[in-house]
Each structure stands twice: as structure tokens, then as C-alpha cells.
């Protein structure tokens, strides 16, 4: 029976991650990075790789720690709490999951490099303002033994810094996933000026050459590789989002216990107590959905869609509430850039859109539940 309770190992992993991140990547480290205009901390990522995080989903044969999806979610959740900036989701979760579906020599080589922290990936999937892999228009026309890629991708998270790209494009009878270096001729990357101060890019492909070897998996059947990768990413993003909701919530409850107005602590006002209590209830319910998604990805990955969408939808809604209430209960100071709450609000909004918003996942759930 799948237990919805953290194992001893997972609890230890979470404690260890929190300990490390509180020292190496607190929110003030993110603030410093933003103030310097940077979106990647190479030293931090290398340290994470040394702890086995970059290889969390990679087999020991390729130098990974192979801890599984629930463990990846534990790490992602802790990262969310302090708004850590890293290519963990793009590279260690999504690209690694995609590459594992293939398992040829080239994929194994890439996995080894991911595990050691020497290779980063970004997923170039979306073209419109909403996540929708099936709406892909980008063209990969057959050309001799290879393909020529033409089109535009948007909201490619980690796309400005990644070493390689997983690119979804239309081929003869379907969609194909290409694994190509990000600096290949014909690729233009424009870093987006994101509200959450992280890396995302618009990428243009102008007659970019790709060979048959660049295809990840089979031609015309991208989804057999991409679907598990996206679901793993959605679950980990849900965990990260739940973590950021917890981070914002913790700040807010802390503030209720120290801020005085009308001669008394504002946390003694029932109007605020009940709102804070409601928010806590929402975070508890979301935590169950997140844990369940990780468990299913580990035990029954072929049937995890409902669980993953549930986690992403719930986490999105809970984080939204947490940051809205966070700013409101802080009052004016919550609106200032000097205070961290705004960071949580912006990160939550970006996370809400990435890999499918609330409606996208609610529709999936509705379809699976027969309406």
C-alpha cells in the first residue's frame, strides 16, 4: 500500500535540504542575485550536484543518487520556501526524466553530465501565452536525412542559460522532440525580463539543422518521452509552489505575532486569525495532493496524470491565496520592494502559468473524472 506519509529517509532529506538552503540560499541570496541582474548561480548548482540533487532521478550507474520522484518533490518544496534559483526543475527533473525514457548511449552520457552538474537543459515547448504542447506549430521539415527547424518558442524557463534545449516540433505525422545544443546555428535567444527575476527566454529557430541523432525517442512520437517529463516537472513544480506558499505563510504568521496596532498584537484579531487558519487548512490539503503525486510517479507512473494535475492545480490555488493574504496581512510594508513578500507573489504568479495553469489541470481532472 502506498503510504501518504513521509518516510524516515524523506524526512531526513527535507531536514538536510532545509539546513543547507537556509545557509547557502536564503531569500536574501535571491535578492542579491536579482540586484546583480543574474539569473543563475553556478557555484550553488555545483554544490547541489555534489549533494546528489542534480542526479536525484538519475541511476547510480550514471553517477546519480536515484532517489525518486517523491524525494525530488521534497527537495523542490524546500527550494520553494526560500525562492531558490536553480535549473533543478528543467534539468534534474524534466530533462533527466525525458532522457531516462530513451536510455541509449548518448542519453546516458547526457545523464552523467547532468548528475555531475556539468550540463543544463531547458524545455522549449510553448508557443502561445498558455501551456499547450498539442498546439505546437513549430515546423521540423524533413531535409535529406535530417530536419530543418523553423519557428518561435516562448516562456522557455532557463532558456537563456541552458546548454541544451529539448525542442518540440511538428514532423510529418505528429510531434517530435529534438535534443540540440542551445548555441546551434540559427538559434536566437532573447532573455525575457521576468517579474520573478528568473531566467526565461523567447527563442527563435531560423532554419536550424537537426539530424536523426538529435531526435529524442522516435520521430512523430514525442509524447512517449515528453509526457513523463512534463508530469514529473508539473509534480515538482507543484511541490515547489507548495513550498513557496508555506514560506509566505510562515512569514505572515510570524508577522501576526509581532506587529502591534491599536495597542495590541494584530494576531489577536479574530478577523485575521480566521483568515490565517483558513490558509493553513488549504496548505494542509495541498500538501496531501503533492505527496500523493510523488508517490504515484514512483509506483505507477503510467497512471499518475490525475494525481499530478491535482497537485499542480491545488498548489497553484493555494500559493495564490497565500501571497494575496500575505501582502494584505502585512499591510503597506508588504507592498515594498525591500520586503520579501513581493518576491513570493511574483514567483507564485509565474509558477501558476508554467507547465499548465489551474484551468489546464482542472480540465484534465474533469476529463479523467468523466465530465
Amino acid at each position: 500500500m502506498t503510504k501518504l506519509v513521509l518516510t524516515e529517509e524523506e524526512t531526513m532529506l527535507g531536514d538536510m535540504a532545509r539546513g543547507f538552503l537556509d545557509g547557502a540560499a536564503p531569500v536574501k541570496a535571491f535578492r542579491k542575485l536579482r540586484d546583480e541582474g543574474k539569473t543563475f548561480d553556478a557555484k550553488l548548482w555545483k554544490e547541489m550536484a555534489d549533494m546528489g540533487w542534480a542526479g536525484v532521478l538519475i541511476s547510480e550507474e550514471q553517477g546519480g543518487s536515484d532517489m525518486g520522484y517523491a524525494a525530488a518533490n521534497v527537495i523542490a518544496q524546500e527550494m520553494g520556501k526560500t525562492l531558490v534559483v536553480s535549473p533543478f526543475l528543467s534539468t534534474a527533473v524534466m530533462a533527466a526524466t525525458a532522457l531516462r525514457q530513451v536510455g541509449d548511449t548518448r542519453a546516458k552520457d547526457a545523464l552523467s553530465k547532468i548528475a555531475s552538474g556539468d550540463l543544463t537543459y531547458a524545455l522549449a515547448i510553448d508557443e502561445g501565452i498558455k501551456h499547450d504542447p498539442n498546439a505546437t506549430e513549430m515546423d521540423a521539415k524533413a531535409d535529406g536525412n535530417g530536419f530543418r527547424l523553423n519557428g518561435r518558442k516562448t516562456f522557455v524557463v532557463d532558456g537563456a542559460m541552458a546548454d541544451r534545449l529539448l525542442v518540440l516540433a511538428k514532423t510529418g505525422d505528429g510531434l517530435t522532440l529534438f535534443d540540440i545544443p542551445a548555441d546551434r546555428a540559427g538559434i536566437t535567444r532573447d532573455a525575457s525580463n521576468m517579474i520573478d527575476a528568473r531566467d526565461a527566454a523567447r527563442i527563435t529557430f531560423d532554419d536550424v539543422e537537426a539530424t536523426g541523432d538529435d531526435v529524442l525517442g522516435q520521430v512523430d512520437s514525442a509524447m512517449s518521452v515528453l509526457k513523463p517529463a512534463l508530469e514529473a516537472g508539473q509534480a515538482a513544480l507543484a511541490a515547489e509552489t507548495a513550498g513557496l506558499a508555506a514560506g509566505a505563510f510562515g512569514m505572515t504568521v510570524g508577522y501576526l505575532k509581532e506587529r502591534k496596532q491599536f495597542g495590541t498584537l494584530i494576531g489577536s484579531f479574530q478577523a485575521l486569525q480566521h483568515r490565517a487558519a483558513h490558509l493553513w487548512c488549504e496548505t494542509e490539503v495541498t500538501a496531501s495532493a503533492v505527496l500523493n503525486a510523488g508517490r504515484l510517479l514512483d509506483t505507477d507512473p503510467g497512471n499518475a496524470t490525475l494525481a499530478v494535475s491535482l497537485a499542480k492545480a491545488r498548489a497553484t490555488a493555494t500559493a495564490k491565496l497565500a501571497v494575496i493574504e500575505g501582502v494584505q496581512m502585512h499591510g503597506g510594508i508588504g507592498m515594498t520592494d525591500d520586503y520579501d513578500m513581493g518576491f513570493y507573489m511574483k514567483r507564485a504568479r509565474v509558477a501558476a502559468e508554467w507547465l499548465g495553469d489551474y484551468s489546464y489541470h482542472a480540465e484534465k481532472i474533469a476529463a479523467l473524472r468523466g465530465f
Binding site: 503510504k3 490565517a276 494542509e284 490539503v285 495541498t286 481532472i365 465530465f371
Partner: protein, 392 residues
Amino acid sequence: MDTGQTAEEFRAELRAWLEENCPQEMRDSGAGEEDICWGGKNWEFTSEAQKQWLERCAAKGYTVPTWPRDYGGAGLTREQEKIFHEEMDRINARSPLQSFGIWMLGPALLHFGSHEQKLHYLPPIARGEIRWCQGYSEPGAGSDLANVQTKGEDKGDHWLVNGQKIWTSYADQADWIFALVRTDREAPKHKGISFLLIDMEQDGVETRPIRMISGISPFCETFFDDAKVPKEQIVGEENRGWDVAKYLLTHEREMISGGGQGLSGGGRALGAVLAETMGDDGLTDATLRADAMRCEVDALAIGLTLERYKDQSEAGQGAGDASAMLKYMGTELNKQRHELLMAAGGSDALEWDGPQGNRAGNWLRTKANSIEGGTSEVMLSIVSRRVLGLPG
């Protein structure tokens, strides 16, 4: 069950037993409230199959599967219990027996009762022979439950009980009542209450149904006028009844929060039910559909949370004040669910026993969910104080 049995062996044995013993008429768990078997001295079975099903389950301990065998249960582990419910759901089997004895008094007795009390009171509950009701609230003690005024005078070998209880669910059909009675009027509010078991078949105990907005009368008022309660009919220590009451409230909250459970796990999706209601076109109303999707998302996640807390408590990790959270979230969701059912039913749902059955009555009934067993606001105050540690 042999404790050495594997899960698969248990499932196979149970499946075979159910196949042989569950009457076909009892394989329609979607049946309405009027089909529930409550048991008790005055119970009239609605069919021979209902009687058979109760007796067969009771003989195996399946009316209270997790209770110890000595007290009428089957002694199932949590994993076996889960399998039990899965297998029951698989064939759509009705619950053989429901009662406040099972949900509320039983757990309290298992925790606080003496061995003799357990042997005396629990098996008749498990067999559906005695029906219990709850005597907690009073006209002046609603959310402020500890403000109990019903008093018990010490008369040596018994207490002489006088006072009034309200919202005594199904008291008019119950045989016994478990009640909070003030046995020390000098002590502070929470310290002078005892938890007494009172036989309702005596002079001095009278019950009157209260007609509710839903048109039915599941709740009653119960009056005590010099009712005699022998001293051995106390659970826990004298004047320490509040401890028992609190423990029992936890179970009550879990039970009420289960209102959301029907939507989760094996239950049917709300959207599918709504679509069916609305006829051939299905769920075409975009607003209603969006509301139904949100409701479905929340229902599934609350269902998982019930699972998670059970797993946590089995793993020895305290779930803290989870019951207040689950009660609040579950009941608010259930109210919302019935709002959507009414909206989908349109004018058909506006008639008493109209084309939609008792949809309106059920809708109105759910409004009490966030009041009974502690209001939503009381639940939030509990979370605020005990979980978040916000200043009182």
C-alpha cells in the same frame, strides 16, 4: 482474520465471503437515507435482506471492522480496513449498520471505558441491538459547549439528573443516550462535567422532535426530570467528562468531515452527477462546470488528506488538530457541493420530493454541517490557537 495473512490472501477470502453473503438487494450503495440500517430495539427492517446482511456482518465483526474481536469487531488492521472498504465498494455493498454508537460512543468507550464497560456496551452496538444518541448541546450551550447546565445530584449509588438537551439526533428512536452532565457546580466550567450513559426507557426522560428547515426532524429535544443514573454508568472519572467529550468530538468531526469523502476516491465525480441531472446536453453551463471542477479538485485533495492523516496516525506521527481542519474543509465543501446540485437541478429541484427526489431537503440539511459538532468559526479558532499559536 489470521494476522499472518498477506493482503492478497485477506482480499481473496473477503471477496469470496462477500460474494456468498451479501444479498443482491444490498448491492446498491447509492440508495437513499431511508435505506440506512440504524438498528436498535425498535428497529423495523425494511427487508429480509437488510436483516440478513446485518446479522451476517455482525457475526463476522464487519459492522465495526477495526474494533477488537472481544468487543464485536473483526480486529482488522488499517491496511485490511482499506481493503475491506475497497471490496465493499467494488460490489456496491451497502453499509450493514450505521449508528452513533459506532461512530462516537464506541471510540470513546474503547479509549476511556473499563474492560467490563466495553464488554457490556460494545457488542450490542456492533450487533445493532442498542441504538444510541448524543446529549451534548443545551439551549444555552451551543458553540460554548462546556456551559452545561443539566445537573446530576449525587444520591449515593446514583445521580439524579435534571435538565434539557437539544439537537439530540434521532433521540426519538434511540434506546440510550450518552450525555454531559454537571456533577460539580462549584468547579470551573470544564472541571465539573461527567460523561454519563443514560437508559432512556425510564420515567423522567422525555424526547420531542424538532422540525427543521429541511422539513424533516432528525434532531430532538430531550428532557430529564429526576432521571436516575446508577453510578457505574459513568465513562472515565467523575468530573472529568470533558476529556471524554473532547475525544469524542474529534471522532464526530471526522465523521462529519466525511461528507466530502463521497466525492473522492471511489466516489462518483460531482461533474458527472451534475451532467446527468441536466439531461442529454450534459454540463453545458460554463459557470456551473467551472464551479464543479473546483469542487472536484478540492474534494479529491480533501479525500487524500483524510488518507494522509490516517497513515500518519498509524505511523505514530501525531496529526495534531487535524480533525478541526478536516471538519471545516469537509463540511464547507459539502455545502458547496449541494449548492451546485441545486443549481444543476433548476426548478425541478425546488419541489419537495419532486423529480429530483429529496434534493432540496438534502441541500438544506447540509447547512447544519458547518454548525453541528462545532461551527466552522470554532474550528478556525481551534486551528488559530492550537496550530498557529496566535494570541488568544
